[in-house]
Amino acid sequence: MLKLEHVCKVFDAGTANKRTALDDISLEVKKGEFITLIGANGAGKSTLFNAVCGSFMTDSGRILLGGEDITLQPEYKRAFHIGRLFQDPLRGTAPNMTIEENLALAAGHGTWLSRIGRAERKRFRERLAELDMGLEDRLDEPVGLLSGGQRQALTLLMATIDPPKLLLLDEHTAALDPAAAEKILSMTKKVVSENALTCLMITHDMQSALDLGSRTLMLDRGRIIYDVSGEERKHLTVPDLLEKFKAASGRAMNNDRMLLV
């Protein structure tokens, strides 16, 4: 579904601050695969997502999504096939617009001059009811009044209401309180399995990196240093992961948010 071929990105090239963010990354993600990504601070996890989404153009290499070369496509065009959630729950929604208006923009049906129809309203209401947060009765309220957890749930719904080819989750529960985080995570699992979505998820929680999904990637200094799936992954523990990191990178994992339990 997603294929990266020798993707490179260097920031501040030619200066003293030169930083190789993505160092010849090649990766093939199969349709329906759910991959978790872990790595130290500045390993290139979010940068990898940015490259796939088109937040910046890569220096070299090719990116293919569903067989189509998207390497040079602008960000907004790629967004047609890619859903993305950020750590900051405020990033995915427009605060001064109502829940319904936010959903209408994300759902993307109709022509430029079409208005929100009755059928669409009904659909939004049904999908919001599935979140079980009472949002279905607050369609006309501005999103700015919602809590962080509610906004992230809405963002998840907006990203998946028309199932995307690829769903990218960038520590999307990290800024929420534990109860809300758990709720968002279980919603995520549900929506991913129901739609058989291809999904990449960055997490700082080593245990859930192993519990969730079917494959785990470890990044360090812009390279994929460990790629595990199948039988080997089933028996892996968190200490094993830390050991693998040390063996591959020659130093201990340092991530100020990393959960080692």
């Binding site: 990033r91 605060p95 208006e101 936010n102």
Partner: protein, 311 residues
Amino acid sequence: MADLLPLLQTAAELGLISSLTVLALFLSYSMLNVCDLSTDGCFTLGAAVGAVVAISGHPYLSILAAMGAGMLSGLVTGFLQTKLGINSLLSGIAVNTALYSVNIAVMGGSSLLNMNKTETVFTRMGAHLAATPLAGSQKLCVAALAVLAVGTLLALFLRTRLGLAIRASGDNPDMVRSSSIDPAKTTLIGLCLSGSVTALSGCLLAQAQKSVNIDIGSGMVTVALASLLIGGAFFGKRRRMPLRICGAVLGALLFRLVYTAALRFRLPAFMLKFVAAAIVVLTIALPYVKAQLPLIRRRFAQRKEAGDAEA
């Protein structure tokens, strides 16, 4: 009392005409979150183009021509900021400056055009109304019709998908992008529309007062912003869109009314722009200062306590 009525009528006429610029700023400033400083030049452009076309004998076409010119001006401002990476304030200022030359060129190298004997939309309307009870109020009628039309269209437009995208572009461009819409495109379209309405406003003012001079639009952006902020005080952010649009028009009318009253109390006419600037500064600064007030109060109390202890 008898001399008050024509005064109020003039205030309403001018208020309605300038409320069109306020509606344009409602779109660019309140919705798109772009402070379009080319507004002054665009207003004059509308006045100049409208006047030239009207003088050449096409009163109705003058309206369309002015709006088209305004749209073009908005397109340039938008292009500078979305495609050439020029800061939105700076691109507005650049276009505004350039428009000064353009406007004089449009007026054939002169900085003043007279339309005393020209057929305008107002004279045409006057002829239509001559035998009705509304005789003599053609300025009010034309202005009210224009405001009604623009206001209604704007309210309907903001509910369309494109309208929502324009609102979201001012609210959270990231979200627009992730909805597969190019915020550069929506900003461009929004500025074109607001430019055309600004130019319409200028065109009508010129035809109503039967002359254009190159300064007709100067300070317009501040006056319109003041009106917009006054309107926002009545129907603020949390209100429904049609109400907010009414608020913008109301703000323009109120501003004119206050100004007319001030004139009655012998405030010199040239003070209009000072008053507008003061209103803008006060409305934006007051909430900020108000938020600082508890801190200032505590500091003051502390200083006083220290002073008391010393004594």
